[in-house]
């Protein structure tokens, strides 16, 4: 492999490279280095313990404080199930919409040159830099009763704010850069030579995408989808503003946790939280599997 290709292949590797961590060669041991190493390890472990492990233990112990029966009751409560359904629906919608959008946007920005592509790329990143609460407010100001499109929506009997469509819209908004962010560098590194070669042989756009582009991006795509789903499941701020907290109607799982907690129903709040924890763990596993597989392919 030439240097250039090695570089490309490295860029192709999906994800953050955590699973390749064991491949880092051990530096030469020096007495002074040893001390620093242990100090850094100590700081990391302490930090992770306080920030992650301790809260997790608290969630689990509190969820089970009143025994299994109470736990099951909280988890299988009608409103909890409804909230879980809405959360999954919003996440599925966000993944579907953002996958399609992310593929189109990164294809456009990596394979075509036109004026304003930098600006477009920057616009796509906006949800990363805007506070979700503000995003929620913007939707209320746009689609709400007194909002910019309020009269139009009312006239057509469409309800977005304080309704399920609003929840879905807000979730899509806060997660829309994820797939794009994962795909764009991979597509960009691939260049457009292969596509041009295929086009010169007379292949159409869809054939080119299916046979040339897609095999190259599929792991990055899956990775982006997973990140997008993870973010969508946990979204609180934007959804909180736009949902109106209607129990059984527009409550998502994170909102439901907050309501239970505010009602001093701590055990139930933690029990429902544990459902989110389980979802998060599943996603973490999926993420690592994808990273492993994409690496094995190279």
């Amino acid at each position: 492999m030439t240097k250039r290709e090695q570089r490309t292949y490295q860029q192709d590797i999906v994800g953050d490279g955590i699973s390749s961590i064991q491949k880092v060669r051990e530096p030469r041991r020096e007495e002074s280095g040893q001390g620093i190493r242990y100090l850094l390890i100590g700081i990391c472990v302490l930090f992770l313990f306080v920030m992650l492990v301790l809260p997790l233990i608290v969630v689990i112990t509190n969820a089970l404080r009143d025994g299994w029966a109470a736990y099951r009751e909280a988890v299988f409560d009608e409103y909890t199930v409804k909230a879980l359904q809405l959360t999954l629906l919003a996440a599925a919608a966000a993944v579907a919409v953002n996958t399609i959008f992310g593929v189109f946007a990164s294809y456009l920005l990596s394979k075509f040159y036109f004026r304003g592509r930098q600006i477009l790329a920057a616009l796509i990143d906006i949800p990363f830099s805007i506070s979700p609460v503000i995003a929620g407010l913007v939707f209320i100001l746009t689609f709400g009763n007194v909002g910019w499109m309020g009269d139009f929506l009312k006239a057509h009997g469409i309800k977005i704010v304080f309704a399920v469509p609003g929840v879905i819209l807000a979730t899509i908004f806060v997660t829309f850069p994820f797939v794009f962010r994962e795909l764009f560098p991979v597509m960009n590194a691939q260049g457009k030579d292969e596509e041009e070669a295929a086009a010169l042989m007379g292949a159409g756009g869809f054939t080119i995408f299916r046979r040339i582009t897609f095999p190259h991006i599929k792991w990055a795509l899956l990775y982006g989808v997973i990140l997008c789903a993870a973010r969508a499941l946990g979204e609180f701020g934007a959804v909180s503003v736009i949902s109106g907290h209607l129990r059984g109607k527009t409550n998502t799982l994170p909102l439901h946790v907050e309501i239970l907690y505010n009602e001093f129903n701590t055990t139930a709040a933690f029990a429902v939280s544990s459902v989110l924890v389980v979802l998060a763990v599943l996603i973490l596993i999926a993420r690592n599997v994808v990273e492993k597989f994409s690496r094995a392919k190279e």
């Binding site: 492999m1 030439t2 030579d193 041009e196 070669a197 295929a198 010169l200 292949a203 046979r211 190259h216």
Partner: protein, 265 residues
């Protein structure tokens, strides 16, 4: 003339990549676009292929104006600078791609792929993936893939740039022989004077988006028409002599060969 460029202009954001480009390549010839890096060689090749559109001017292939014809309808094969092999397809699938797109029958595709694998002496490597091949083998696959749909014109962008200096000469001879055997009109891009001198029937010298001179290697070497060409080819001689000096230290006969490659009459 099989390929004819007439008053071609091309700008990229105000930068003149081609200015009044005029030249022709006759049927069956092997022509080299030779010039320093950034002088607009690739731009010319891409316009002939239909990958870029000239701002003005006419591109004629086989007497037909092709400006408005998509690249896939121009009857060309293109070998990209880094070969642009489809990295998720095997060698055989790479070669078959153009034929599959044309909806040729399975049997026809299979026999054509076998024929081409034989032509490039890679019969046993059809199942390999591009990353499992050496640079020279990749070049051969790119060549076979470009030839598969039976094009009338072959365009090659710096076909030897990505190849080890050691095997470059060998491949050069191989490619020239192959092109002669297939009998296809070909244009290749290079910034290496020696390469152009050795391989091409006609050399087209580019500089800052303009054509400086068109001629046979001997004409270019003996009668440079512009100061730029004289300088450029002089530099080449100088390089050859320097190379010859190095070669002399290795073997005397080697240096003799090197010297005689220039301006053979």
């Amino acid at each position: 003339m099989y390929v004819q460029m007439e008053h071609i202009y091309k700008t990229f954001d105000g930068f003149h990549a081609s200015s009044d480009v005029n030249f022709g390549v006759e049927k069956g010839q092997l022509a080299a676009l030779l010039g320093p890096s950034g002088s607009g060689k690739t731009t010319i090749l891409r316009m002939i292929a239909g990958l870029d559109r000239p701002d003005s001017g006419e591109i004629m292939i086989n007497g037909v104006r092709v400006n408005d014809l998509p690249g896939s309808k121009r009857g060309i094969g293109f070998v990209f600078q880094n070969y642009a092999l489809f990295r998720y397809m095997t060698v055989a699938d790479n070669i078959a791609f153009g034929l599959e797109v044309q909806k040729k029958s399975k049997k026809e595709i299979k026999s054509r792929v076998e024929e081409l694998l034989e032509l490039i002496s890679m019969q046993d490597l059809g199942k390999r993936y591009p990353h499992q091949l050496s640079g020279g083998q990749r070049q051969r696959v790119a060549f076979a893939r470009a030839l598969a749909p039976n094009p009338q014109l072959l365009l090659l962008d710096e076909p030897f740039a990505a190849i080890d200096a050691k095997v470059r000469r060998e491949l050069r001879t191989w490619l020239k022989g192959m092109i002669g055997r297939v009998g296809i009109t070909s244009i290749f891009v290079t910034h290496d004077q020696e390469e152009a001198m050795e391989v091409a029937d006609t050399i087209i010298i580019t500089n800052q988006g303009r054509i400086e001179q068109v001629g046979t290697p001997d004409e270019i070497c003996l009668h440079p028409q512009t100061e730029f060409v004289a300088d450029f080819i002089d530099a080449a001689r100088y390089e050859a002599l320097a190379a010859a000096r190095v070669a002399k230290e290795l073997s005397y006969s080697g240096s003799q060969k090197l010297k005689s490659r220039y301006c053979s009459h």
